[in-house]
């Protein structure tokens, strides 16, 4: 008999298989954030710029990847394989979570790569904290992936809508979370917007966790934001799947 977990595993391994059979694209996309890191970090003031920036860049690459969950789906909606999967007894949340995980798991490998590259340049991190941080991030990205899936279902007849909405939302989300530049010195309205952005709490949690500060309110805030986004995303995605015709 199948369970939600085995169904998720089926979807996840199906999604991952073409990547494993043809790993060049993933290797290429893994190098990308390193370039970003190399060109951006020297611009940041202060000696512990890496300490501040590395968790942010990990969040960013994870965010880019999971927000793409829907783009692969768009193609499969058009060719017919998504419809075929909807007729199987696979549990609906498994279709969302499995697809999102496929984007996230390579990003965990990427996070390890980023950290490994930065350690010789003086980046210090706490192993346990980093693992907890990645877990929170993965949870958040399952939610984001599910939203991306929902968006693809809503935009299935107009592919450009998917890309427009994805790009329009992604950058404000990133900037308002203080991933690239600190928000603390910004004007009041900007800080107010940042407080309404769930990603802000996740980024704060990542920074404190990578520094080894585990039992903090920042961790709790990040965890709550991530779980809320994941629950909301899966709920919206399953609903969209049931309604879509």
């Amino acid at each position: 008999m199948t369970t939600l977990i085995s169904d998720t595993g089926t979807v996840f391994s199906r999604e991952l298989r073409p990547v494993l059979r043809d790993p060049f694209t993933i290797i290429f996309s893994m190098v990308q954030p390193l370039v970003f890191l190399a060109l951006f970090t020297p611009l940041l003031p202060g000696r512990d710029a890496l300490q501040w920036f590395v968790p942010g860049i990990i969040v960013m690459s994870c965010l880019f990847a999971s927000s793409m969950t829907g783009s692969n789906l768009l193609f499969e909606i058009q060719t017919g394989s998504h419809e075929r999967m909807l007729v199987t007894p696979l549990r609906r949340p498994a279709l969302l979570i499995g697809r999102a995980l496929k984007e996230i798991v390579p990003m965990v490998a990427q996070a390890a790569l980023i950290v490994a590259v930065c350690v010789p340049f003086g980046f210090r991190f706490d192993v346990l904290g980093a693992l907890a941080g990645l877990l929170i991030l993965a949870t958040f990205c399952v939610g984001l992936g599910a939203f991306s899936y929902t968006l693809a279902l809503a935009a299935k007849n107009q592919e450009w809508v998917f890309w427009t909405v994805q790009q329009t939302l992604l950058f404000p989300l990133l900037l308002l979370a203080g991933v690239l530049l600190p928000i603390d010195d910004g004007p009041g309205w900007l800080r107010a917007l940042a407080r309404g952005n769930p990603l802000s709490y996740v980024v704060d949690a990542e920074r404190s966790l990578f520094n080894g500060e585990i039992w903090t309110t920042a961790t709790l805030g990040g965890l709550i934001a991530a779980v809320a986004v994941a629950a909301l995303g899966v709920w919206a995605g399953v609903r969209a799947m049931r309604r879509s015709d």
């Binding site: 298989r17 073409p18 060719t79 017919g80 394989s81 419809e83 909807l86 007729v87 007894p89």
Partner: protein
């Protein structure tokens, strides 16, 4: 195997399916025939749990399609209009993950995939990317995917659309052998008349979301159209005289031709020719036309299926 009551689907203001009552017994092979937009695919999508009905009920393989979706999904196979196999995937991988989706163990899924690959003649292409396969190969792979869990009921939505005649014949052969070997109940939609005619024992004609006829192809033709005997004469005078001789058959005369509509024409022709010779109006030529399902559709709706739907209407707009 299938039982629907007043099955209806509205899309905004369009009644795509408008109160369908349908019963399909185990082991039947049924074709839903109708023009594009008649509601065939929408009906199929409701029966396969892809979309919920607006009203009415449907029980498929013993379970309600709204309340027990999972039970229905476990028991049916579905081959849609598109390609079930992902284009970036390998065929064999897709078959195995399809088997996993139905709860087969990895080992069973692998074995089952292997035997379907062999029986559908896919051995050479199963480990290639799906996007490199030909249309016919992809369609066979779709069939294999729909069969991975040996469903008792199989739905096919326009299975042969886009295939060349050879691949169509090949596909029809596979479907028929499936039925012969496993006694699978099969429901397919098509707008190919010959396909419905040659494969199905039961044809359900759908138009504007309603069932307008439901019978075997032979009975549909006999009941609604009948055979046509066209008799040609050397002179119009002969034709007029022949019309009088054949008056009980109610022939229609067009110039020096007579058209008689009847059942079982090939058996009646010799007798008719004898009568005409005896009456001194021998026929110069004779043609027997057996009706097609298109003729049935034409009689039922006043439109031809070949023209692909509604008669063209034009509105004059004055400024």
């Amino acid at each position: 195997m299938i039982q629907t009551r007043g099955l209806t689907k509205h899309f905004k203001d369009v009644r795509a399916v408008d109160g369908i009552d349908l019963t399909v017994a185990p082991g039947e092979l049924v074709a839903l025939l109708g023009p594009n937009g008649a509601g065939k695919s929408t009906t199929l999508r409701m029966l396969t749990t892809l979309i919920p009905p607006t009203s009415g009920t449907a029980e498929v393989a013993g379970y309600d399609v709204v309340r027990h979706q999972r039970e229905v999904r476990l028991r049916i196979g579905y081959i849609g209009q598109g390609n079930g196999a992902g284009h970036s995937q390998r065929g064999r991988d897709e078959l195995i993950s399809q088997g996993r989706a139905y709860g087969l163990s990895v080992r069973d899924a692998r074995t089952r995939a292997g035997s379907l690959i062999d029986s559908l003649g896919l051995a050479e292409v199963a480990d290639r990317r799906v996007s490199t396969l030909s249309g016919g190969q992809r369609r066979r792979l779709d069939i294999a995917m729909g069969l991975i869990h040996a469903p008792e009921l199989l739905f096919l939505d326009e299975p042969s659309t886009g295939l060349d005649p050879q691949n169509r014949a090949n596909l029809q052969e596979h479907i028929l052998s499936l039925r012969a070997e496993h006694d699978t109940t099969i429901v397919l939609t098509t707008h190919y008349l010959d396909e419905a005619d040659s494969m199905a024992e039961r044809v359900i004609v759908i138009d504007h979301g309603r069932i307008i006829a439901d019978d075997s192809p032979a009975r549909l033709k006999a009941e609604h159209v009948g055979d046509r005997i066209t008799l040609g004469f050397d002179a119009e005078l002969d034709a007029a005289g022949a019309a009088a001789t054949l008056a009980p058959l109610a022939p229609q005369r067009r110039g020096n031709r007579l058209v008689v509509t009847t059942q079982d024409a090939p058996r009646r022709v010799p007798g008719i020719l004898d009568d005409l010779r005896a009456a001194g109006h021998p026929a110069a030529e004779v043609e027997v036309t057996r009706p097609t399902l298109d003729d049935v559709f034409l009689v039922l709706t006043g439109r031809s299926l070949r023209e692909g739907g509604a008669a063209e209407t034009r509105e004059l707009v004055e400024v």
